[in-house]
Symmetry: C2
Subunit: 357 residues, 2 copies
């Protein structure tokens, strides 16, 4: 494995005094990890260096043709002082799947994890102590070749940023209101929906802004072909509890394969809870609601963990769910996942990774 060079900062920044005001992804630590890719040479010169602006060509392909991928994960401070990551190998595996779709050369997943541990270790004093706060980790890759012909770049930067963050939703576990999007489409089979790439997020901004204007937190995306089947929320995957069964849309190529989604399914199965991944139409959800069988709805994601949905709106139909309370299954999932993440509970083997181990 390549040696990871460390370039120490001359001075360290002041850490946030009031952790309750961290917000999400707004404050960055003292260091970042950077590795370059050059055609012919491959990925080279991994370095941890002081966090700061990057200098790139104004013709860099990421700025014009969106050749970029990212990941999101967290480091958690356990009560006993350990610093834990949650299934980080899954994130680097997914990063490489995104790379493949976006024609970006694969990274060495072992080197990436090793670099991440070293980076978090150096910045460990930045990991917040407040409840539900953690160190958000943002690995990303951007195309840097400064040429305007449309093609895959010959050079890239792989960077990891760290950001001490509070809960993704300021309202925490309060149920959020979600709006079923009927005009815009996030992704379609054959497109990039299952890759974690910039374009998917850029295309979703307009729908998100329109949802906010109507006082909804996010939109629920339907499939791009028939506009009938539920896909995801954009920042989260979505689950429903119908008549005692947990259901979530099956991965179909246009849905992001969430790691919290996967963990949720695995936990439910380990509890003997019936859980199905299948195609779900929005009409089925409306029918279940009308029949009084839709008892819970929640989103899953690294940023929000488990986010109860308290209201779904589809066209003119408003469907309040759970009476403003978090449901029993959602609560148990939240307690279990966060328990494992913060090291209060033992999870399945390999889920919790101690950066010092």
């Amino acid at each position: 494995m390549q040696e990871i060079r460390v370039e120490l900062a001359k001075t360290l920044k002041d850490k946030p005094v009031d952790e309750s005001k961290l917000g999400f992804g707004q404050v960055f630590t003292d260091y970042m990890f950077v590795m370059e890719y050059t055609a012919g040479q491959g990925w080279h010169d991994p370095v941890i260096k002081p966090y700061g602006p990057i200098s790139i060509s104004p013709a860099a392909m990421c700025l014009h043709y969106g050749q970029e991928v990212f990941e999101g994960m967290k480091a958690y401070r356990a009560d006993d002082g350990r610093v834990l990551l949650f299934r980080p190998e899954e994130n680097f595996k997914r990063l490489n799947r995104s790379n493949k779709r976006m024609c970006i050369p694969p990274i060495d997943e072992e080197l990436a994890l090793c670099s991440l541990k070293k980076l978090v270790d150096l910045d460990r004093d930045w990991i917040p102590k407040a409840k539900d706060s953690s160190l958000y980790i943002r690995p990303f890759i951007i195309a840097t070749e400064g040429k305007l012909g449309v093609k895959s770049s010959d050079s890239y930067l792989f960077i990891i940023l760290l950001s001490p963050s509070g809960p993704y939703y300021a309202s925490g576990l309060d149920p959020v209101k979600i709006y079923v999007e009927s005009s815009y489409v996030r992704a379609v089979r054959g497109g990039t929906g299952e890759a974690k790439t910039g374009g998917n997020y850029a295309s979703a901004l307009i729908a998100q802004e329109e949802a906010h204007e109507q006082d909804y937190a996010q939109v629920l995306w339907l499939d791009g072909v028939e506009r009938k089947y539920i896909e995801e929320v954009g920042a989260m995957n979505i689950f429903f509890v119908i008549d005692g069964e947990v259901v979530t849309p099956a991965l179909n190529g246009s849905i992001l394969p969430g790691i919290t989604r996967k963990s949720t399914i695995e936990l439910l199965q380990s509890w003997g809870q019936k859980v199905s991944e299948r195609r779900i139409s929005i009409q089925e959800i409306a029918d279940a609601y009308d029949a009084g069988k839709l008892t819970e709805c929640f989103g899953t994601g690294t940023a929000a963990v488990i986010s109860p949905v308290g209201e779904l709106k589809w066209q003119d139909k408003v469907m309040p769910i759970g009476g403003g309370q978090i449901g029993a299954i959602s609560q148990k999932l939240y307690d279990t996942l966060t328990g494992i993440q913060w090291g209060r509970l033992d999870g399945p083997a390999g889920w919790s990774v101690d950066i010092d181990a």
Copy 2:
């Protein structure tokens, strides 16, 4: 209108000696135009300054969420020494339409054109003299706010780059081979297909690479819903001549509204040539081919102007068109468009814009 400040370079770069080796979008001039946007303040401080790397936050939203748009246009050197732009107002109008879809604040189109003229004037010695060579112009806007929450950025950069360039296809007017893409999808109604934004290009790279491996220049995209109807080529719009009628896919929300496309339709109409914008299935093209009625096929785009298509491949069906020669309509369009662009012919009022006028 805001004053455009000019920051002169201390030294100028050497200009390319051999214009036949320029390629496309690989060499940049001495200057670039830069203007910043800050929420609350709007677009401010337009400046022409020496071309060079830009410094941005590694958390800049364009690097993570693809909030970015661009345009492509050219400056042409006429035989009499005039420097001409081709319908530049159309590009800035389209940039603002892309901005709207991507939640980017609109630019002042008049200021943009004025800035562009001033920039081209300062770099006018960079405009190549070789036949079919021109100064490629790349206006683009990137989201620069350094925060990781998914939302529209609060700050942007609007930049214009200039690049002396040869023909987009090295083979020039030689007919290109195009492959009908059956697996990947570029865009879908409700998505961002009609915006000139990075994600559309990033998602297309993988299909383009697979086409190159099969010795095809580009792919022809079908619609994302039924995968039956022809959309565009990605770098070009597409036209067919069937039984004496020119047809091109109607703009449907997922096709880029090309300015060369629009100009082509307007020219054909002015010649009394029957031309239709409508839905065209790939089956219709195959049927016309089988019936011997498909006499020409060509792409239109700023970079390639008119690019004859000499072969279409759809699944196992290979359809050679025009016997390796450019067709009469394609040739007349090419001669007329390039004639107007280089100032050898008079075009409709307003098509040709002298930067000194």
